[in-house]
């Protein structure tokens, strides 16, 4: 094989890197609006799923506009913050902030029976990466109306089961406040050990213990930060 000088190798690699960088940046910039739209639609689908409305990429925007009547951001004391769009709030960034600075989004929906639901985003850690989702509460602010969980890369067949309806439907009808009005969250127990008649427990996933624990902590941590907001609503 013919040999190349060091200068040639340097020039060759420099040109290659510049050309490749240019192509990729152009592609990324032209495709970005489409990608952003997809992420938005996906978020709307997830929010709708938490109030038990099935949607597809085609009708998600339409259904979202129909059912979600109001959305705003509250602070840790429960007061509404002006000038922040709840839909644009990135929970990953919010959870990294101290509680006092957090923006806590609330979405309010009206179902076909004119009942109000409060949809709250939750965000936490699974085994391999983040898990997140939406929890919707009935207007008594304690009974769970529906849930939707997503994950980045939990083990298929084990931790990834949190994204299935079988797991999520267990939460429907559970309470996050006990009879005395104390916050108890809904505990995700070790697979198969939740008491069937308990209003505050659901079964975790056998073999997906760390992911189940992650969901358990996520619900407890995120819902707890909304307690002052719940108080405000009840006092109104």
């Amino acid at each position: 094989m013919k040999s190349f000088s060091n200068t040639y190798i340097f020039v060759f690699s420099s040109i290659m890197v510049v050309v490749v960088a240019a192509i990729l940046s152009i592609a990324a910039m032209t495709l970005q609006p489409f990608q952003k739209k997809n992420v938005e639609i996906n978020k709307k689908e997830n929010i709708l799923a938490s109030i038990n409305i099935e949607s597809t990429a085609e009708n998600a925007v339409e259904l979202y506009d129909k059912y979600i009547v109001e959305s705003y951001v509250v602070g840790h004391t429960g007061e509404v913050k002006e000038g922040v769009d709840a839909f644009e709030v990135d929970m990953k960034k919010e959870m990294a902030k101290p509680l006092e600075e957090r923006n806590l989004p609330v979405f309010i929906s009206l179902n076909d029976n004119e009942e109000r639901q409060y949809i709250l985003p939750v965000y936490g850690k699974g085994l391999w990466g983040p898990v997140w989702g939406y929890v919707s509460l009935q207007s008594n602010l304690s009974t769970i109306y529906g849930t939707n969980f997503s994950h980045e890369g939990e083990t298929p067949g084990l931790g990834a089961e949190i994204a299935t309806e079988d797991f999520q439907n267990q939460f429907i009808g559970k309470e996050i406040f006990n009879e005395k009005g104390e916050f108890v969250s809904v505990r995700v127990k070790k697979g198969g050990t939740a008491k069937p008649d308990s209003k505050y427990e659901v079964d975790g996933i056998s073999g997906g213990t760390i992911t189940s624990k992650g969901v358990d902590e996520m619900l407890n941590d995120c819902l707890k930060s909304y307690i002052p907001y719940f108080e405000n609503i009840k006092n109104q």
């Binding site: 190798i9 996906n42 298929p156």
Partner: protein, 215 residues
Amino acid sequence: MNKEKEPLFSAKNLKLLREPLNDSNPITVQVLGICSALAITVQLKPAIVMALSVAFVMAVANVVISLLRKSIPPRIRIIVQLVVIASLVILVDQILKAFLFEISKQLSVFVGLIITNCIIMGRLEAFALANKPWPSFLDGLGNAAGYGVILIIVAFFRELLGSGTILDYQVIPQGVYNFGYENNGLMILPPMALIVVGIIIWIQRSRNKKLIESN
């Protein structure tokens, strides 16, 4: 233009397309690219998209490397190959995210992992660096087809037996379930892909005399 040279689809060029489908199939004979074959064959649709993505990356990378083959310094050729593959894969990933979001979510990290698919680098190293663009293009397509065919066969059986659907359409009628038939949950788990690939290798070897080892 090709009159004095060989025709575009000469016997030799056609062989480049045909051989990887059977005699030198990248998965069943060379046993390359198994990792992705296990991961994304639970359902047919992601498998088809994966096969098409690999075909695009492999064919284009082969052509690019073949065009540059005389100017690539041998000392950094592996890096050059990786850069070409990686940028093509990023392009595919971005396009999937923009236009096929659902499937891109299902394929998730495995699109990125096309970069490490040994079939692609194997073909660049073994073929494109020493051949003209057109044969390299055919070689890329042929090998991608050989890979894709196995992926699709495996995904077909895994989706049919594991979920009772084909391309998300229910094909096993409800009546059969009423008689006590159940979807085989094991088919959804990765080990079954290995077993299905194993069965394909077995059938192929017993039918193809060339692959039967004499010792």
